[in-house]
Protein backbone atom coordinates (compact mmCIF):
# COMPACT_ATOMS: atom_id res chain seq x y z
CA UNK A 1 0.00 0.00 0.00
CA UNK A 2 2.82 2.38 0.78
CA UNK A 3 4.36 1.66 -2.57
CA UNK A 4 1.07 2.32 -4.31
CA UNK A 5 0.86 5.59 -2.47
CA UNK A 6 4.33 6.50 -3.58
CA UNK A 7 3.42 5.89 -7.19
CA UNK A 8 0.23 7.90 -6.92
CA UNK A 9 2.20 10.77 -5.45
CA UNK A 10 4.73 10.59 -8.21
CA UNK A 11 2.17 10.37 -10.98
CA UNK A 12 0.25 13.32 -9.60
CA UNK A 13 3.41 15.34 -9.47
CA UNK A 14 4.53 14.41 -12.95
CA UNK A 15 1.08 15.29 -14.20
CA UNK A 16 1.15 18.62 -12.45
CA UNK A 17 4.55 19.47 -13.82
CA UNK A 18 3.38 18.83 -17.33
CA UNK A 19 0.39 21.03 -16.78
CA UNK A 20 2.42 23.89 -15.52
CA UNK A 21 5.10 23.53 -18.11
CA UNK A 22 2.73 23.21 -21.00
CA UNK A 23 1.50 26.65 -20.25
CA UNK A 24 4.84 28.19 -19.80
CA UNK A 25 6.19 26.71 -22.94
CA UNK A 26 3.35 27.98 -25.02
CA UNK A 27 4.01 31.41 -23.63
CA UNK A 28 7.72 31.15 -24.08
CA UNK A 29 7.30 30.08 -27.63
CA UNK A 30 5.08 32.97 -28.44
CA UNK A 31 7.58 35.34 -29.99
CA UNK A 32 8.66 32.67 -32.41
CA UNK A 33 5.12 32.05 -33.49
CA UNK A 34 4.62 35.61 -34.61
CA UNK A 35 5.84 34.70 -38.02
CA UNK A 36 3.20 32.05 -38.40
CA UNK A 37 -0.41 32.22 -37.39
CA UNK A 38 -0.87 32.93 -33.73
CA UNK A 39 -3.05 35.97 -33.65
CA UNK A 40 -3.83 36.80 -30.08
CA UNK A 41 -3.33 35.45 -26.62
CA UNK A 42 -6.72 33.85 -26.44
CA UNK A 43 -5.43 31.31 -28.92
CA UNK A 44 -2.90 30.29 -26.35
CA UNK A 45 -5.50 29.75 -23.74
CA UNK A 46 -7.29 27.28 -25.85
CA UNK A 47 -3.97 25.70 -26.61
CA UNK A 48 -3.36 24.79 -22.99
CA UNK A 49 -6.23 22.55 -22.13
CA UNK A 50 -7.10 20.81 -25.32
CA UNK A 51 -5.00 18.78 -27.65
CA UNK A 52 -3.41 21.25 -30.04
CA UNK A 53 -5.00 21.43 -33.43
CA UNK A 54 -2.98 20.36 -36.37
CA UNK A 55 -0.74 23.19 -37.45
CA UNK A 56 -2.22 25.41 -40.06
CA UNK A 57 -0.44 25.47 -43.39
CA UNK A 58 2.62 27.63 -43.45
CA UNK A 59 1.46 29.15 -46.72
CA UNK A 60 -1.17 31.14 -44.91
CA UNK A 61 -0.25 34.80 -45.09
CA UNK A 62 1.15 36.45 -42.01
CA UNK A 63 -1.64 38.03 -40.13
CA UNK A 64 -1.54 41.71 -39.36
CA UNK A 65 -3.70 41.30 -36.26
CA UNK A 66 -0.70 41.00 -34.05
CA UNK A 67 0.28 44.59 -34.62
CA UNK A 68 -3.13 46.08 -34.20
CA UNK A 69 -3.73 44.54 -30.75
CA UNK A 70 -0.42 45.85 -29.53
CA UNK A 71 -1.49 46.60 -25.96
CA UNK A 72 -4.46 44.55 -24.83
CA UNK A 73 -6.47 45.87 -21.96
CA UNK A 74 -5.65 43.74 -18.97
CA UNK A 75 -8.45 43.09 -16.56
CA UNK A 76 -8.09 40.92 -13.52
CA UNK A 77 -11.06 38.78 -12.69
CA UNK A 78 -12.17 38.58 -9.09
CA UNK A 79 -14.37 35.92 -7.63
CA UNK A 80 -14.71 32.71 -5.74
CA UNK A 81 -13.00 29.45 -6.60
CA UNK A 82 -14.44 26.21 -5.24
CA UNK A 83 -13.05 22.75 -5.71
CA UNK A 84 -12.43 19.31 -4.37
CA UNK A 85 -9.31 17.37 -3.41
CA UNK A 86 -9.05 14.50 -5.86
CA UNK A 87 -6.33 12.79 -3.86
CA UNK A 88 -8.55 12.27 -0.82
CA UNK A 89 -11.55 11.47 -2.96
CA UNK A 90 -9.83 8.76 -4.96
CA UNK A 91 -7.81 7.33 -2.09
CA UNK A 92 -10.92 5.57 -0.81
CA UNK A 93 -10.98 3.56 -4.02
CA UNK A 94 -7.68 1.80 -3.47
CA UNK A 95 -7.22 2.16 0.29
CA UNK A 96 -9.94 0.34 2.21
CA UNK A 97 -8.74 1.88 5.45
CA UNK A 98 -9.47 5.39 4.28
CA UNK A 99 -12.54 7.45 3.54
CA UNK A 100 -12.30 11.19 3.18
CA UNK A 101 -13.26 14.28 1.29
CA UNK A 102 -11.91 17.79 1.24
CA UNK A 103 -13.51 20.85 -0.31
CA UNK A 104 -11.32 23.81 -1.08
CA UNK A 105 -12.21 27.40 -1.78
CA UNK A 106 -10.64 30.78 -2.14
CA UNK A 107 -11.73 34.35 -2.67
CA UNK A 108 -9.56 36.90 -4.38
CA UNK A 109 -9.10 39.88 -2.10
CA UNK A 110 -6.59 41.86 -4.10
CA UNK A 111 -4.25 41.38 -7.00
CA UNK A 112 -2.05 38.97 -5.12
CA UNK A 113 -3.90 38.04 -1.95
CA UNK A 114 -6.51 35.33 -1.74
CA UNK A 115 -8.55 34.28 1.26
CA UNK A 116 -8.38 30.51 1.29
CA UNK A 117 -10.04 27.70 3.20
CA UNK A 118 -10.24 23.94 3.21
CA UNK A 119 -12.90 21.93 4.94
CA UNK A 120 -12.99 18.18 5.09
CA UNK A 121 -13.81 15.00 6.89
CA UNK A 122 -11.75 11.85 7.26
CA UNK A 123 -12.17 8.29 8.51
CA UNK A 124 -8.84 6.53 8.59
CA UNK A 125 -7.65 3.30 10.13
CA UNK A 126 -3.93 3.30 10.79
CA UNK A 127 -2.24 -0.08 11.03
CA UNK A 128 1.18 0.35 12.57
CA UNK A 129 3.48 -2.43 13.68
CA UNK A 130 2.27 -2.27 17.26
CA UNK A 131 -0.93 -0.25 17.07
CA UNK A 132 -4.14 -0.31 15.09
CA UNK A 133 -6.52 2.58 15.53
CA UNK A 134 -9.27 4.42 13.69
CA UNK A 135 -9.50 8.19 13.55
CA UNK A 136 -12.73 9.91 12.53
CA UNK A 137 -13.34 13.61 12.40
CA UNK A 138 -13.70 16.87 10.54
CA UNK A 139 -11.48 19.83 10.10
CA UNK A 140 -11.42 23.41 8.87
CA UNK A 141 -8.39 25.34 7.68
CA UNK A 142 -8.57 29.06 7.05
CA UNK A 143 -6.01 31.58 5.96
CA UNK A 144 -4.60 33.33 2.94
CA UNK A 145 -2.51 32.67 -0.13
CA UNK A 146 -0.06 35.09 -1.66
CA UNK A 147 0.32 34.65 -5.40
CA UNK A 148 3.99 35.00 -6.25
CA UNK A 149 3.50 34.34 -9.94
CA UNK A 150 3.58 37.21 -12.45
CA UNK A 151 0.95 36.30 -14.98
CA UNK A 152 1.39 37.07 -18.66
CA UNK A 153 -1.53 38.92 -20.22
CA UNK A 154 -4.78 37.43 -19.02
CA UNK A 155 -3.41 34.20 -17.67
CA UNK A 156 -4.62 33.40 -14.18
CA UNK A 157 -2.15 30.89 -12.87
CA UNK A 158 -1.06 30.85 -9.29
CA UNK A 159 2.11 29.86 -7.51
CA UNK A 160 1.31 30.66 -3.97
CA UNK A 161 2.70 30.70 -0.48
CA UNK A 162 0.21 30.95 2.31
CA UNK A 163 -0.63 30.41 5.92
CA UNK A 164 -3.51 28.55 7.50
CA UNK A 165 -4.97 28.10 10.90
CA UNK A 166 -6.34 24.62 11.24
CA UNK A 167 -8.84 23.16 13.65
CA UNK A 168 -10.12 19.64 13.97
CA UNK A 169 -12.56 17.79 16.17
CA UNK A 170 -12.32 14.04 16.09
CA UNK A 171 -12.45 10.77 17.95
CA UNK A 172 -10.10 7.82 18.03
CA UNK A 173 -10.80 4.16 18.52
CA UNK A 174 -7.94 1.97 19.64
CA UNK A 175 -8.71 -1.32 17.90
CA UNK A 176 -5.83 -3.46 19.11
CA UNK A 177 -2.25 -3.13 20.22
CA UNK A 178 0.82 -5.13 21.13
CA UNK A 179 2.70 -4.92 24.38
CA UNK A 180 6.32 -4.15 23.62
CA UNK A 181 8.42 -6.73 25.38
CA UNK A 182 12.16 -6.92 24.84
CA UNK A 183 12.30 -10.23 26.72
CA UNK A 184 9.76 -12.52 25.09
CA UNK A 185 10.81 -15.57 27.11
CA UNK A 186 7.26 -16.91 27.12
CA UNK A 187 6.84 -16.13 23.43
CA UNK A 188 5.12 -13.17 21.87
CA UNK A 189 1.92 -12.37 23.70
CA UNK A 190 -1.11 -12.07 21.42
CA UNK A 191 -2.32 -8.58 20.49
CA UNK A 192 -4.56 -6.96 23.07
CA UNK A 193 -8.01 -6.24 21.70
CA UNK A 194 -9.09 -2.89 23.10
CA UNK A 195 -11.91 -1.22 21.18
CA UNK A 196 -11.70 1.77 23.50
CA UNK A 197 -12.99 5.00 21.97
CA UNK A 198 -11.69 8.43 22.90
CA UNK A 199 -14.29 11.08 22.10
CA UNK A 200 -14.24 14.84 21.99
CA UNK A 201 -10.64 15.29 20.93
CA UNK A 202 -9.57 18.57 19.35
CA UNK A 203 -6.44 19.91 17.73
CA UNK A 204 -5.26 23.34 16.63
CA UNK A 205 -2.38 23.93 14.29
CA UNK A 206 -0.75 26.36 11.88
CA UNK A 207 0.40 25.35 8.45
CA UNK A 208 2.52 26.88 5.75
CA UNK A 209 1.12 26.07 2.33
CA UNK A 210 2.93 26.11 -1.00
CA UNK A 211 0.79 25.51 -4.02
CA UNK A 212 0.38 25.74 -7.74
CA UNK A 213 -2.88 26.27 -9.58
CA UNK A 214 -3.10 26.28 -13.34
CA UNK A 215 -6.07 27.19 -15.47
CA UNK A 216 -6.65 24.25 -17.76
CA UNK A 217 -9.63 25.62 -19.64
CA UNK A 218 -12.28 28.26 -19.16
CA UNK A 219 -12.78 28.57 -15.44
CA UNK A 220 -11.44 25.17 -14.45
CA UNK A 221 -8.24 25.02 -12.44
CA UNK A 222 -6.05 22.11 -11.48
CA UNK A 223 -3.57 22.47 -8.69
CA UNK A 224 -1.61 20.84 -5.97
CA UNK A 225 -0.31 22.08 -2.68
CA UNK A 226 1.98 20.96 0.09
CA UNK A 227 1.40 21.81 3.70
CA UNK A 228 3.83 21.82 6.59
CA UNK A 229 1.87 21.66 9.83
CA UNK A 230 2.91 22.64 13.30
CA UNK A 231 0.67 21.53 16.13
CA UNK A 232 -0.16 24.25 18.65
CA UNK A 233 -2.51 22.52 21.00
CA UNK A 234 -4.33 19.22 21.15
CA UNK A 235 -6.38 17.38 23.73
CA UNK A 236 -4.74 14.03 24.19
CA UNK A 237 -6.63 10.86 25.04
CA UNK A 238 -5.69 9.25 28.34
CA UNK A 239 -3.20 6.44 27.97
CA UNK A 240 -3.00 7.01 24.20
CA UNK A 241 -1.87 9.76 21.85
CA UNK A 242 -3.11 11.61 18.78
CA UNK A 243 -1.03 9.78 16.23
CA UNK A 244 -3.26 10.90 13.40
CA UNK A 245 -5.36 14.05 13.25
CA UNK A 246 -7.84 14.72 10.44
CA UNK A 247 -6.51 17.53 8.26
CA UNK A 248 -3.19 17.52 10.04
CA UNK A 249 -2.35 13.94 9.10
CA UNK A 250 0.18 11.78 10.86
CA UNK A 251 1.97 13.46 13.73
CA UNK A 252 5.73 13.23 13.49
CA UNK A 253 7.66 13.78 16.72
CA UNK A 254 4.37 14.65 18.36
CA UNK A 255 3.84 18.07 16.82
CA UNK A 256 4.88 18.10 13.19
CA UNK A 257 2.87 17.05 10.18
CA UNK A 258 2.76 17.29 6.43
CA UNK A 259 -0.08 17.35 3.96
CA UNK A 260 -0.67 17.17 0.27
CA UNK A 261 -3.64 17.81 -1.92
CA UNK A 262 -4.42 17.65 -5.61
CA UNK A 263 -7.40 19.77 -6.47
CA UNK A 264 -9.73 20.48 -9.33
CA UNK A 265 -11.63 23.70 -8.86
CA UNK A 266 -14.03 25.96 -10.66
CA UNK A 267 -13.72 29.72 -10.69
CA UNK A 268 -16.92 31.75 -10.37
CA UNK A 269 -16.16 35.28 -11.58
CA UNK A 270 -17.90 38.08 -9.70
CA UNK A 271 -16.34 41.28 -11.03
CA UNK A 272 -13.41 42.54 -13.06
CA UNK A 273 -10.83 45.08 -12.10
CA UNK A 274 -8.79 46.96 -14.67
CA UNK A 275 -5.15 47.36 -13.95
CA UNK A 276 -3.65 50.78 -14.68
CA UNK A 277 -0.02 49.79 -14.52
CA UNK A 278 -0.38 47.04 -17.03
CA UNK A 279 0.94 49.19 -19.89
CA UNK A 280 4.19 49.88 -18.13
CA UNK A 281 4.70 46.25 -17.25
CA UNK A 282 3.91 45.15 -20.73
CA UNK A 283 6.40 47.53 -22.24
CA UNK A 284 9.14 46.54 -19.86
CA UNK A 285 8.59 42.95 -20.79
CA UNK A 286 8.94 43.80 -24.44
CA UNK A 287 12.50 45.06 -24.01
Amino acid sequence: MKHTLKYIFSFCLVFSVFLAQAQDLSQKGEPAKQTTTVKNPSDDLRFMGAIPETPKPATKPLSTDKKSDSIPVKKDRYGVRVGVDLFKLTRGLYDHDYKGIELVGDYRLSKKIYLAAEVGTEDKTTDDDLLNFTTKGSYLKMGFDYNAYQNWLDMENIISVGLRYGFSTFNQTLNHYDVYNTNPYFGEAPAVISGETFDGLTAHWVSVVTGVKAKVFNNVFVGFSLQLNGLIYNTKPTNFDNLYIPGFNRTYDGNFGVGFNYTVSYFIPIYKKRLSQVVKKFQSNEK
Binding site: K2, L13, T182, P184, F186, V258
Partner: protein, 185 residues
Protein backbone atom coordinates in the same frame (compact mmCIF):
# COMPACT_ATOMS: atom_id res chain seq x y z
CA UNK B 1 9.53 34.45 -18.92
CA UNK B 2 11.12 35.92 -15.84
CA UNK B 3 9.26 33.75 -13.34
CA UNK B 4 9.81 30.53 -15.16
CA UNK B 5 12.97 29.54 -13.22
CA UNK B 6 11.21 30.33 -9.96
CA UNK B 7 8.39 28.02 -10.86
CA UNK B 8 10.81 25.29 -11.81
CA UNK B 9 12.47 25.59 -8.45
CA UNK B 10 9.17 25.22 -6.63
CA UNK B 11 8.25 22.16 -8.63
CA UNK B 12 11.64 20.59 -8.05
CA UNK B 13 11.33 21.28 -4.35
CA UNK B 14 7.87 19.78 -4.25
CA UNK B 15 9.14 16.68 -6.02
CA UNK B 16 12.01 16.09 -3.64
CA UNK B 17 9.85 16.85 -0.65
CA UNK B 18 7.07 14.42 -1.50
CA UNK B 19 9.49 11.66 -2.43
CA UNK B 20 11.36 12.12 0.82
CA UNK B 21 8.07 11.78 2.69
CA UNK B 22 7.17 8.50 1.10
CA UNK B 23 10.55 7.09 1.99
CA UNK B 24 10.58 8.11 5.66
CA UNK B 25 7.32 6.41 6.45
CA UNK B 26 8.94 3.32 7.98
CA UNK B 27 11.62 4.86 10.16
CA UNK B 28 9.94 4.56 13.52
CA UNK B 29 11.76 1.88 15.45
CA UNK B 30 11.50 1.69 19.19
CA UNK B 31 14.62 3.12 20.78
CA UNK B 32 16.25 0.37 22.91
CA UNK B 33 16.83 2.93 25.67
CA UNK B 34 13.11 3.52 26.05
CA UNK B 35 11.67 2.08 29.24
CA UNK B 36 9.24 -0.57 28.07
CA UNK B 37 7.85 -3.66 29.82
CA UNK B 38 10.05 -4.15 32.91
CA UNK B 39 11.39 -7.44 34.24
CA UNK B 40 11.26 -8.48 37.85
CA UNK B 41 14.62 -7.73 39.51
CA UNK B 42 15.73 -10.14 42.22
CA UNK B 43 18.80 -9.44 44.36
CA UNK B 44 20.41 -12.15 46.48
CA UNK B 45 21.68 -11.45 50.00
CA UNK B 46 23.69 -13.41 52.50
CA UNK B 47 21.43 -14.74 55.28
CA UNK B 48 24.28 -14.56 57.78
CA UNK B 49 25.16 -10.98 56.84
CA UNK B 50 21.82 -9.57 55.62
CA UNK B 51 23.27 -6.27 54.52
CA UNK B 52 25.64 -7.89 52.06
CA UNK B 53 24.76 -9.16 48.63
CA UNK B 54 25.81 -12.71 47.83
CA UNK B 55 26.51 -14.28 44.47
CA UNK B 56 24.53 -17.33 43.48
CA UNK B 57 26.31 -20.33 42.05
CA UNK B 58 25.20 -21.55 38.61
CA UNK B 59 21.62 -20.55 39.13
CA UNK B 60 19.29 -21.64 36.37
CA UNK B 61 15.77 -20.24 36.17
CA UNK B 62 13.09 -22.01 34.18
CA UNK B 63 9.55 -20.79 33.69
CA UNK B 64 6.72 -23.23 34.31
CA UNK B 65 5.86 -25.03 31.11
CA UNK B 66 9.14 -24.04 29.49
CA UNK B 67 11.93 -26.42 28.59
CA UNK B 68 14.78 -23.94 28.32
CA UNK B 69 15.97 -21.59 31.00
CA UNK B 70 16.15 -17.83 30.85
CA UNK B 71 19.23 -16.71 29.00
CA UNK B 72 21.35 -14.75 31.46
CA UNK B 73 24.54 -14.76 29.46
CA UNK B 74 23.78 -14.27 25.79
CA UNK B 75 27.41 -14.36 24.73
CA UNK B 76 28.10 -17.78 26.22
CA UNK B 77 27.49 -21.00 24.32
CA UNK B 78 25.63 -24.14 25.20
CA UNK B 79 24.36 -24.68 28.74
CA UNK B 80 26.50 -21.83 30.09
CA UNK B 81 24.22 -19.12 28.75
CA UNK B 82 21.42 -20.16 31.12
CA UNK B 83 23.56 -19.81 34.23
CA UNK B 84 23.58 -16.81 36.55
CA UNK B 85 26.50 -16.33 38.92
CA UNK B 86 25.97 -12.75 40.02
CA UNK B 87 23.96 -11.31 42.86
CA UNK B 88 21.12 -9.92 40.72
CA UNK B 89 18.87 -11.47 38.10
CA UNK B 90 16.04 -10.03 36.01
CA UNK B 91 13.22 -12.32 34.97
CA UNK B 92 10.27 -11.48 32.71
CA UNK B 93 6.69 -11.80 33.89
CA UNK B 94 3.89 -12.89 31.59
CA UNK B 95 2.16 -9.86 30.12
CA UNK B 96 -1.03 -11.71 29.28
CA UNK B 97 -1.57 -13.58 32.56
CA UNK B 98 -1.76 -12.52 36.19
CA UNK B 99 0.56 -15.22 37.44
CA UNK B 100 4.03 -16.46 36.51
CA UNK B 101 5.81 -19.40 38.09
CA UNK B 102 9.55 -20.01 38.01
CA UNK B 103 11.84 -22.78 39.19
CA UNK B 104 15.11 -21.51 40.63
CA UNK B 105 17.76 -24.24 40.39
CA UNK B 106 20.86 -23.59 42.45
CA UNK B 107 24.11 -25.40 41.59
CA UNK B 108 22.32 -26.61 38.48
CA UNK B 109 25.48 -27.92 36.83
CA UNK B 110 26.69 -29.86 39.86
CA UNK B 111 27.13 -33.54 39.11
CA UNK B 112 26.15 -34.48 42.65
CA UNK B 113 22.32 -34.46 42.66
CA UNK B 114 22.29 -33.86 46.40
CA UNK B 115 23.76 -30.40 45.88
CA UNK B 116 21.32 -29.36 43.17
CA UNK B 117 18.44 -27.58 44.86
CA UNK B 118 15.27 -26.37 43.23
CA UNK B 119 12.81 -23.85 44.68
CA UNK B 120 9.63 -22.68 43.06
CA UNK B 121 8.11 -19.24 43.33
CA UNK B 122 4.74 -18.30 41.94
CA UNK B 123 4.37 -14.57 41.45
CA UNK B 124 0.85 -13.17 41.55
CA UNK B 125 0.24 -9.67 40.34
CA UNK B 126 -2.09 -7.25 38.61
CA UNK B 127 -1.20 -5.67 35.29
CA UNK B 128 -1.66 -2.33 33.62
CA UNK B 129 -0.86 -1.49 30.01
CA UNK B 130 0.54 2.01 29.54
CA UNK B 131 0.98 3.82 26.26
CA UNK B 132 4.61 4.54 25.42
CA UNK B 133 4.82 5.82 21.87
CA UNK B 134 3.94 5.02 18.27
CA UNK B 135 7.13 3.02 17.81
CA UNK B 136 7.06 1.20 21.15
CA UNK B 137 3.32 0.71 21.47
CA UNK B 138 2.28 -0.18 25.00
CA UNK B 139 4.23 -1.50 27.94
CA UNK B 140 2.92 -3.61 30.81
CA UNK B 141 3.66 -2.60 34.39
CA UNK B 142 2.94 -4.96 37.27
CA UNK B 143 1.89 -4.69 40.87
CA UNK B 144 2.53 -7.71 43.07
CA UNK B 145 -0.49 -8.86 45.00
CA UNK B 146 -3.06 -7.95 46.13
CA UNK B 147 -3.28 -11.38 47.84
CA UNK B 148 -0.35 -13.82 48.03
CA UNK B 149 2.11 -11.76 45.96
CA UNK B 150 4.46 -14.73 45.94
CA UNK B 151 4.09 -18.38 46.86
CA UNK B 152 7.39 -20.05 47.69
CA UNK B 153 7.35 -23.85 47.52
CA UNK B 154 9.82 -26.66 47.23
CA UNK B 155 10.29 -28.62 44.06
CA UNK B 156 8.66 -32.00 43.48
CA UNK B 157 11.83 -33.77 44.60
CA UNK B 158 11.55 -32.24 48.09
CA UNK B 159 15.18 -31.25 48.48
CA UNK B 160 14.49 -28.51 51.00
CA UNK B 161 14.31 -24.78 50.42
CA UNK B 162 17.57 -23.07 49.58
CA UNK B 163 15.96 -19.62 49.78
CA UNK B 164 15.63 -19.02 53.48
CA UNK B 165 13.83 -15.71 53.33
CA UNK B 166 12.09 -13.96 50.44
CA UNK B 167 11.22 -10.31 50.92
CA UNK B 168 9.22 -8.03 48.67
CA UNK B 169 11.16 -4.77 48.50
CA UNK B 170 8.57 -2.98 46.37
CA UNK B 171 5.37 -4.32 44.89
CA UNK B 172 5.34 -1.86 42.00
CA UNK B 173 7.27 -3.25 39.08
CA UNK B 174 7.48 -0.23 36.81
CA UNK B 175 11.14 -0.20 35.87
CA UNK B 176 14.29 -2.28 36.12
CA UNK B 177 16.34 0.29 38.01
CA UNK B 178 15.52 -1.06 41.43
CA UNK B 179 15.33 -4.36 43.26
CA UNK B 180 11.77 -5.64 43.59
CA UNK B 181 12.40 -8.87 45.50
CA UNK B 182 15.22 -9.68 47.92
CA UNK B 183 16.22 -13.31 48.48
CA UNK B 184 18.33 -14.29 51.49
CA UNK B 185 20.17 -17.59 51.42
Amino acid sequence: MEFYPFMKKIIAFAFVFVLSLSSCEKDDICDPNTATTPRLVITFYDITKPSEVKNVNNLKVIGEGMTEGIVFNATATGELKYLANGSTISIPLKTNEDTTTYSFILNSTNLNPALVNTDKIQFNYTRENLFVSRACGYKTVFKLGPTDPLIHTDAASADGLWMQYVLIETDNIANENETHVKVYF
